[in-house]
């Protein structure tokens, strides 16, 4: 897939590395602190290393020590989303947005600012509340004009809900955010010719699971539907697997 003309992998990776160095240096200086900030620092390091459960524990500890630690709440939501803890992420996000509607989180890999309402929008998407998510992102756009993530997410949702013209309106806002360079390319097609706009079905944001499911996915409103897990031995064929488990 083509990327937007502005994407430069060398520059982008260098910028990310420089930013990460700053974040990690600051964090490692207080990892031993038994304070909310110390727990937050540990959480940030864990989240960067993909120790997601440990990151969640640390951010929860940070909030326990100081319930006004909005950064901890924001990062906790992102980790809960990462692990598909849909209800928990929505609860954390709603709590943050109601307590600190003007809060913005600085990304650890760039200078991008993410509004509390953008984080709420992400949680709403994961909970399949698409219309509410659009409202949240639009609020984020109004409250935090420099939140390019909200604009990109809005573009995705507008495409998914059959409103390509609305999606096009967002492109100038996020076109320089390298995280969304591929999206920029897609939406740019529509700028040249609306007929070329990708016509995502309503579940495009969550359809990745469908694309990965074995066999032919059972989709309902674009979401892949799976059974619960049980313990019926009749479903277990006797397959010879010759592996040393020691």
């Amino acid at each position: 897939m083509a990327k937007a003309a502005s994407f430069d992998p060398c520059k982008t990776s260098r910028d990310i590395a420089n930013k990460l160095q700053t974040v990690l240096t600051a964090a490692v200086n207080c990892v031993d602190d038994h304070t909310s900030e110390g727990a937050l620092a540990r959480g940030k390091i864990f989240s960067l290393a993909a120790y997601t459960e440990e990151a969640i524990d640390s951010f929860e500890q940070a909030l326990h020590l100081d319930e006004g630690n909005h950064e901890a709440a924001a990062r906790l939501t992102l980790m809960q989303l990462r692990l598909n803890k849909s209800e928990q992420s929505l609860s954390t996000a709603m709590n943050l947005a109601s307590k600190a509607p003007n809060y913005t989180l600085e990304e650890m890999t760039s200078d991008e600012q993410i509004s509390a309402f953008t984080i709420l929008g992400n949680a709403l998407v994961q909970n399949n509340r698409v219309e509410d998510a659009v409202q949240a992102y639009e609020t984020a756009r109004k409250e935090a004009g420099n939140d390019t993530t909200a604009a990109a997410r809005l573009a995705q949702l507008y495409i998914a809900t059959g409103k390509p013209a609305e999606a096009l309106k967002q492109t100038d806002i996020f076109k320089d955010n390298p995280r969304y360079s591929k999206l920029s390319s897609f939406v740019a097609l529509g700028a040249r010719n609306p007929a070329l706009m990708p016509t995502y079905d309503p579940a495009s944001l969550s359809s990745q699971l469908a694309l990965d499911a074995h066999g032919r996915p059972l989709t309902v409103n674009g979401e892949a539907r799976l059974a619960e897990v049980a313990e019926d031995p009749e479903w277990c064929a006797d397959v010879e697997v010759d592996i040393d488990f020691s």
Partner: protein, 229 residues
């Protein structure tokens, strides 16, 4: 193999099993869709056979999963709310078949074939061989149905073009949140990066040309929707 790796591989096979199990319902719905558009009996029979194949695939996947996890794992209840209320028009059935059958299932087949090539265990390779053989027929069923539907309802051609463009241009998902274990590729499961590359290759070299031929448009016209030139 560490305990963590064993657990990871086992869970991956559980996911595969749940996907195969859900495919039974997907083909059940497809069978009803075929009847709603008065499809010929040959397509109906192939869809019914596919349901039986998927039950077999599910038992094989859960069999492997149970070996790795050291406990019995199976599918439980499947919530069918809304499953049969969605698709009523031929255009909706066409869109779903293109997305789920022509593209998703065909790509899933490519993953299974690659996983089979890389598997180091004979038992797992045997399971994947069964899946690949059967899924090849299932993929063909989807394409054959689309071809038949467009022959009987040529007015759906523009919808078919839109559906293919949508299905192949949906960006691949973000890397998984949980840690991946490369050893899993020897036991039937590809890493995210492998899948991403394979998906892109397969779309451009197999699916796009096949769609272009089916729709009687040039490959370039289909590719245009995927590039920014």
């Amino acid at each position: 193999m560490t305990e963590e790796e064993r657990h990871y591989i086992g869970e991956a096979w559980v996911e595969s099993g749940l996907g195969e199990h859900a495919s039974v319902a997907s083909f059940a719905r497809f069978t009803l869709d075929l009847m709603s558009v008065a499809a010929p009996p040959e397509l109906l029979q192939r869809s019914i056979q596919a349901m039986s194949d998927e039950v077999n695939h599910a038992t094989l996947c859960f069999g492997v999963a149970s070996k790795f996890l050291g406990r019995v794992v199976s599918p439980g209840r499947l919530d069918l709310t809304g499953v049969f209320s969605e698709m009523t028009t031929p255009a909706q059935i066409l869109h779903a078949t293109v997305s789920e059958g022509c593209v998703s299932e065909t790509i899933s087949l490519a993953y299974a074939a690659r996983a089979m090539d890389q598997a180091s265990d004979d038992g797992i390779r045997g399971v994947l061989k069964t899946i690949v053989t059967d899924e090849s027929r299932h993929s063909k069923l989807a394409w054959d149905f689309v071809q038949w539907l467009l022959m009987t309802k040529p007015e759906l051609r523009d919808q078919a073009i839109r559906s293919f463009k949508s299905a192949v241009s949906t960006p691949y998902g973000q890397p998984p949140s949980a840690k991946e274990f490369p050893i899993a590729e020897r036991f039937g499961h590809l890493m995210h990066e492998s899948k991403e590359q394979l998906r892109a290759e397969f779309i451009s070299s197999k699916i796009v040309p096949r769609a272009a031929k089916l729709l009687e448009i040039s490959t370039e016209e289909v590719q245009l929707a995927l590039s920014d030139k």
